[in-house]
Symmetry: C2
Subunit: 237 residues, 2 copies
């Protein structure tokens, strides 16, 4: 099946492998972590809600990350949200079309970024109620949730679920939703100071005559890189 | 190029992608971290030392991990050493044969496991002197070293570089070689107790009439799973 002209040597090559990307797109709706699913327009599993995914296109994709960003753009309208590689899921049984490799990614976006582009073929499901997904997408979702929870405990990762400006109590609620546990307020503020990825917006406070709260934003240098600490945010240490 | 008979739907499929696995095989020689390279028997880059790697074989490999274990067996004789997925390296430029996805892995083995199977086409190179590798293998090595260093600081990972039995000072030297820094002896012993992945071998001590040292071994339940701590082994905490 492979054409020799494309290769430097005439020995027999193995059968081709199906190469796809799949993205676990996470957002927060009313402080509950949700995964965004897209109804499949094509076989296999046409009509079922699944992770946004698709073939790698060697003619146009620069690499697997580029393919994942393209798939997200095509299926959700999102332009380069925060995106990290989760890993590879592979084997003969996970895709009815044949032996496949899926490069899986997870992405975090504020709900506001999705809401304005919402279309009928999308749905959100609470991460605790993900059921009946095709392929091995449930396994991919669960591995992504484990990774996000673990990484959130020592990094700035959850801030990518926040809108442009937020108060510290709002940021704490986002961490609590991601970690699935409550955090002591004093130790949370100390951790945020240590991590240093947010800055107060000069002169910006929430409305409300009584006790207006300072608004914060993500520092520019942490838009693509996480800020890390070697001690857990929820460890009370 | 793709045959329709194998697929459920007739729409046009993208060109096939070359799918390979590559393994960063690490070992310790005289307490210095080394990467094992294999001289390539085929084009491209025939005769050059490179990471042990090869095509995924859909006809026989159960998944990408199985492919990586097969490649290690074929090129080094090793039977299922400690192996973790590093991530995917992909794009049109990394392999002269065409657009490729490589699922990269790292493996840790004691030198004694390699020595008995050593063949002419293998070589070891100090991780600080890895130069002139084909493909993007230098980048893969550097990302693997970053990952191993980072993970070693809070887990039992380096123990897979130790032989079957070892003293605590020997284990500490292995951690120091992996982390690239010295560790306080008292805090190291406390961390090992906390992690709990080693146990004393009853009645086994090093030879030497003066002050024989207790020998330890890895507990069975940590052969495939790491023991983790949320505070750095080298943090002195």
């Amino acid at each position: 099946m492979p054409t020799e002209s494309k290769h430097h040597h005439p020995r027999e090559l193995p059968d081709p492998v199906i190469c796809t990307v799949d993205v676990v797109l996470l957002t927060l709706v009313e402080n509950a972590l949700q995964v965004v699913l897209a109804r499949r327009a094509q076989e296999p599993f046409r009509g079922l809600a699944a992770l946004p995914g698709g073939y790698i296109h060697p003619a146009t994709d620069r690499d697997a990350r580029d393919a994942a960003e393209r798939v997200l753009r095509e299926k959700t309208g999102l332009q380069s949200p925060y995106l990290e590689q989760l890993g590879v899921f592979s084997g003969p049984g996970r895709d009815p079309r044949g032996w496949s490799v899926s490069v899986a990614w997870y992405a975090l976006v504020p709900w506001e970024a999705l809401e304005s582009r919402w279309t009928d073929h999308l749905e959100v499901t609470s991460t605790s109620q993900v059921r009946g997904l095709p392929f091995d997408h449930e396994r991919i979702v669960h591995e992504a949730l484990d990774r996000v929870r673990s990484k959130s405990s020592y990094s700035s990762l959850p801030v990518h679920l926040c809108r442009e400006s937020f108060t510290l109590p709002q940021l704490q609620a986002v961490y609590e939703a991601t970690l699935g546990e409550t955090i002591n307020k004093v130790s949370f503020r100390r951790k945020m100071e240590e991590l240093g990825f947010v800055e107060p917006i000069p002169g910006a406070t929430t409305g409300g005559a009584h006790r207006p709260a300072q608004l914060y934003r993500l520092r520019d240098e942490f838009r693509r890189n996480l800020s890390l600490t070697d001690r857990g945010i929820n460890s009370g240490g």
